[in-house]
Symmetry: C2
Subunit: 228 residues, 2 copies
């Protein structure tokens, strides 16, 4: 019997590489996309295409309307998405695009699904090296959540807690691209831009980090940009 | 300026008493009900009425369709809700009504809202003494989640993590009723039954524990039952 993993798949570069790593480790992929009423709903199409390309067993989209709570440029139209910042400025503090407790919410619903289908692991594309601005991408947060998985679930009580796997956590963005290339990740299907346009904007933090990473890896980013 | 608390309010006895305790400690109540497509949607009406009666500043209902995942008698119509069990049998193991990772999901979205409105605390009506069947009602789970709050949020990074308050955790069901009575909780508005009828069934685990607790407290349960 094959092992099952829930893969949190946004359709971005990182989660797509995390999915490919899960697959390379022999897991069947049960892809989970959270529709939290973010600006960049465009991502969902990418998630669907990537899940298919990587041979996911199934792909669910779960709606959780975090825009009801506000507090982030990604869910509240009144807060502007920062543009054209330097890489150094981006990593400096917690940005306006931080969505309160997002990875906690994502991991918790992934945990619910994992318990229901008896999956061994959850894969998340969090990484802390290039972009330390988000508290919920740090290894110490992921360890704390592992503890929640051990203590707050039936599988945990039975001594086989769902493992929280964050294979990118210590990788640079350049390394993520290289690993993705080795594993045949279809970069042309992925989507990272925080805005919801037909082409990626090229100026939000997410586009800037992505373009920089492809440049460092000496590769061409295959998606289209408004500006680059 | 008054302190804000997110109160996870299902409309049941426990969460209503937890809400009254939050109020007695001087917090403004921001009530949060999670509609997870459970059988007993009847609870939501109770939550709305209790929130109003306790003077909540606001009350939000957030939809998260956990029935997409299944795995529980409360969200999957194919799994039966156990009936007419003894109190001893009820506390013995993890029952079919366990919803995978439910309190983790509830606390995580409460944490998202708490961060967005700068609330100091989250109140949850979990208690472990009479009913140890649910792993995510135990003090060690709640402590693990406190750690997630400290490490995975902006408030945590700033040294003022959102506090997870579970004031009932060491109380018996009888003590919960007594505390609720002292605080003027409108028991007649609360709803505990796992089924969705117009009257409480009187035979599901939740009804049995509630009736037993009122009996032990020497009080009359003011709600109507099919059987008691």
């Amino acid at each position: 019997m094959s092992l099952k993993a829930i893969v949190l798949l946004s359709g971005g570069l990182d989660s797509s590489v995390a999915a490919a790593i899960a697959k390379s480790r022999g897991y069947d992929i049960h892809a989970l996309t959270i529709d939290y009423e973010q600006r960049h709903g465009r991502e969902h199409r990418a998630a669907k295409d990537v899940a298919k390309a990587l041979g996911a067993v199934e792909h669910k989209v779960l709606k959780i309307d975090l825009s009801q709570f506000g507090g982030s440029a990604l869910t509240d139209a009144r807060i502007e998405v920062p543009r054209s910042r330097s890489k150094k400025a981006i990593g400096h503090d917690i940005p306006a695009t931080y969505v309160p407790a997002r990875n906690t919410v994502f991991l918790s619903v992934a945990l619910a699904w994992a318990e229901a289908i008896d999956a061994e692991a959850i894969f998340i594309g969090a990484h802390a090296l290039d972009y330390s601005g988000y508290p919920d991408c740090r290894p110490e947060f992921l360890e704390a959540f592992q503890n929640v998985s051990a203590l707050g679930t039936k599988r945990g009580v039975e001594g086989k807690p769902v493992k929280i796997e964050a294979p990118l956590v210590h990788m640079s963005k350049r390394e993520i691209i290289e690993r993705g290339r080795e594993l045949g990740v279809p970069f042309e299907l992925t989507w990272s831009c925080y805005l919801g346009g037909e082409k990626a904007c090229g100026t939000c933090d997410s586009c800037i980090l992505r373009l920089e990473a492809f440049k460092e890896a000496g590769r061409e980013d295959p998606i289209e940009y408004e500006r680059r």
